[in-house]
Amino acid sequence: MTIMTRMLTASAIALMAGVGAVQAQTSITVAIQLEPPNLDPTGGAAEAIDSVVYSNIFEGLTRFASDGSVGPGLAKSWEISDDGLTYTFHLQEGVLFHDGSDMNAEDVKFSLDRARAEDSTNAQKPLFAQIADVSVTDRLTVVVTLSQPNGSFLFNMAWGDAVIVAPETAATNATNPTGTGAFMFVNWVQGDRIELTHNQFYWGAVPELETATFRFISDPTAAFAAMMAEDVDVFVGFPAPENLPQFEADPRFQVIVGSTEGETILAMNNKVAPFDNPLVREAVAHAIDRQAIIDGAMFGYGTPIGTHFAPHNPAYLDLTGLSGYDPERARELLAEAGLPDGFTTTLRLPPPSYARRGGEIIAAQLREVGIQTEVTNVEWAQWLEQVFGAKDFGLTIVSHTEPMDINIYANPEYYFQYDNQAFRDVMDALTATTDPDGRTALMQQAQTIIAEDHVNGYLFQLAALTVAKAGVEGLWPNAPVAAIDLTGVTWAE
């Protein structure tokens, strides 16, 4: 019997045993709002892909833990040369892909070369930009040489876009994902659910959960109904925060509130008048009452931020004092800038409720200081074309959910068009620094520069809201990456 047949038979027996057993709950149904368009994390930007496959089906050299730290994944250990240019990864032994083939250094080389190739459709190509060469020393050792030192290289390799795939199955991963993870793909009923089963031949601890089903419920009322009717066991990213008190009061359920990497900002078009005047940007910053937005749009869930950095990160600096709610000061600044009667601008709002609801509240707050806004609701595709691509906007509200993405301020072409050489110098220094204390100091310097320049209105950090049945344990409270790691999830006895 081939390994594949053996694995399938074992899984089938396990599945049937799981169905027959009454006492031990070994299956789980997890609901999320958005269905992934495909299941290849190296080929698309949709977060929903990582939600299903990250750490479950696919793994990379390194992986994120629930607190956002980076630890060993398929690479059990590594050495970094003194000049920071050479990384030697030692891979785990006995790792098999779900089709039974062996995972070794050749597959790592294939995956990294494929991601950084000229014609690669990897949405996060910059992660691989500094790789000059990937070479195989022996079956379980890979040497990656960088063109310049990068202090966040190990962090970059933990992203879903950097997972290790096999050359034989890479082309079909979009519909039939074959990885090395603790769960194997079983079936995808498009529009309805994705079914996974646990990998009996996993190189690490085989998960206690035998089957996992992902369901996709985008409507907030339907999400509430599905949870209350106990049709699903867990809802990650619960879209109806107004119902959370009801779940908290119900002994059948538990509510887990954590943090994400989503900095929600009121972006200002820095190269377009009047936002090219720092006084005007500071005025906007003082016109905003963060707590009112958190309470009004997010029902109290969210942490105020004073700069573009996640508060749960140890290097975070609380700079909310620089942009406190002070409408008087805002009016003074506008007068100083030569706009005592205020001005009119556009406010483009993408679909999420933090933007639509938050946008109405911000429009009212800006009106108080004389700034009139033409509010337009746009879909994501329109937002990407008009705001992100053509930079045709005055103000917009969006949440940036990539971890450690403060470096977007170093790109003058990025949609809010902030152009500051001093900031770029700090970012370059940060990339070259690997010493933790040095990195913290530089990150704090970066946070201070963009806060003092009031590049954007820094609103709040999105909260991670999860509702689950009371007996589920091991769920990640925080979302350092858009993943739903089921490897440690179990049902309490």
């Binding site: 996060q124 190509k125 529009g191 409507d219 339907a222 209350m228 329109q382």
Partner: protein
């Protein structure tokens, strides 16, 4: 009769061609690049260009239109940009949810509307008629998505008789599939039944006022016999039209119900594809729905000829 059918067929084909042109032009004009949507904010220009080339978005629009039409005629609806799977397969999966749901809702709607309409017409002016009119007034006014949420609240959350939504698939059994479609079908059917009942009632009342009914009564038939044997058959023509329109609405318009009950149907597919700028899926599904509507209207036209002999002879 043959001439009548042929004329209808020609108008069907012309409608399809015009529809395909309109659909294609409208979808292509909408702002938003599928490749940018798929790759997100951090995508590099060269990655975007590579993806656009892969999806075939580079070529001329005219070439793409003819390629699409030629493919559809052969049954090939293209490949979805987002999912990278053949659109015909996706449509086939979804049709098995939307079509049974539409039929189920139509049957329920007819089963409720016919007796209600006939009863109201036969008790005209009296308490029974008033009662049915009030009920249908309410039914016409209630939005079907609100009604759906109320059904979920009562039957799924409080009583637990049904699940709050979702569709297990026909392979898990006919009964479980029908059970999953019951609440959605009821939510769709009741407002439609209200409209249909009113049409039935007014059409029947028109017939009951005709001379030939008076003749039938004069010949000795009771009111009920006259209604059943003579009036009903003739009252069916407007009712058939409404049923045809309703079926088209149920097939395509179930989109909101599909959202509320998170059913993997055609409506939700179109909705998601519009958001994702999956142009091929939008064009193909909308074309399919237009085709269904035109075919249903054609069938209703043929049914007229069957029900009303006067239409068969007219040139």
């Amino acid at each position: 009769m043959i001439a009548y059918v042929l004329r209808r067929l020609v108008s069907l084909i012309i409608s399809l061609i015009v529809a395909s042109l309109v659909i294609f032009v409208v979808v292509e004009i909408v702002p938003g690049d599928p490749a940018a949507y798929m790759l997100g904010m951090n995508a590099q220009p060269d990655t975007l260009a590579a993806l656009r080339a892969e999806l075939g978005l580079d070529g001329s629009k005219v070439a793409r239109y003819f390629g699409w039409v030629a493919g559809m005629v052969q049954g090939d609806f293209g490949t979805s940009y987002t999912y990278r799977t053949p659109v015909s397969g996706m449509i086939a999966d979804r049709v098995w949810v939307s079509l049974p749901l539409a039929l189920y809702a139509l049957i329920l709607s007819t089963l409720i509307a016919f007796p209600a309409g006939i009863y109201a017409a036969s008790r005209r002016g009296r308490a029974g008629d008033m009662g049915v009119m009030a009920a249908t007034q309410l039914g016409v006014a209630i939005p079907n998505f609100w009604f759906a949420m109320v059904l979920v609240l009562i039957f799924a959350i409080n009583l637990g008789w049904f699940s709050a939504g979702g569709f297990p698939g026909w392979d898990k059994g006919l009964w479980s599939g029908l059970k999953a479609l019951t609440l959605p079908a009821v939510a769709l059917a009741l407002p439609q039944a209200a409209i249909l009942a009113r049409v039935m009632r007014s059409s029947l009342l028109d017939m009951l006022g005709e001379d030939f009914i008076r003749t039938a009564r004069a010949k000795g038939l009771s009111a009920g016999q006259a209604l059943w044997r003579h009036a009903l058959r003739n009252a069916l023509i407007p009712v058939l039209t409404i049923i045809g329109l309703q079926f088209s609405f149920l097939l395509a318009g179930g989109i909101i119900i599909e959202q509320v009950f998170y059913l993997p149907g055609l409506g939700r597919l179109v909705f998601q594809s519009i958001t994702q700028r999956d142009l091929i899926v939008v064009e193909s599904v909308v074309m399919l729905l237009v085709f269904a509507v035109i075919v249903v209207n054609f069938a209703v036209d043929l049914a007229y000829a069957v029900v009303d002999p006067r239409l068969r002879v007219r040139v």
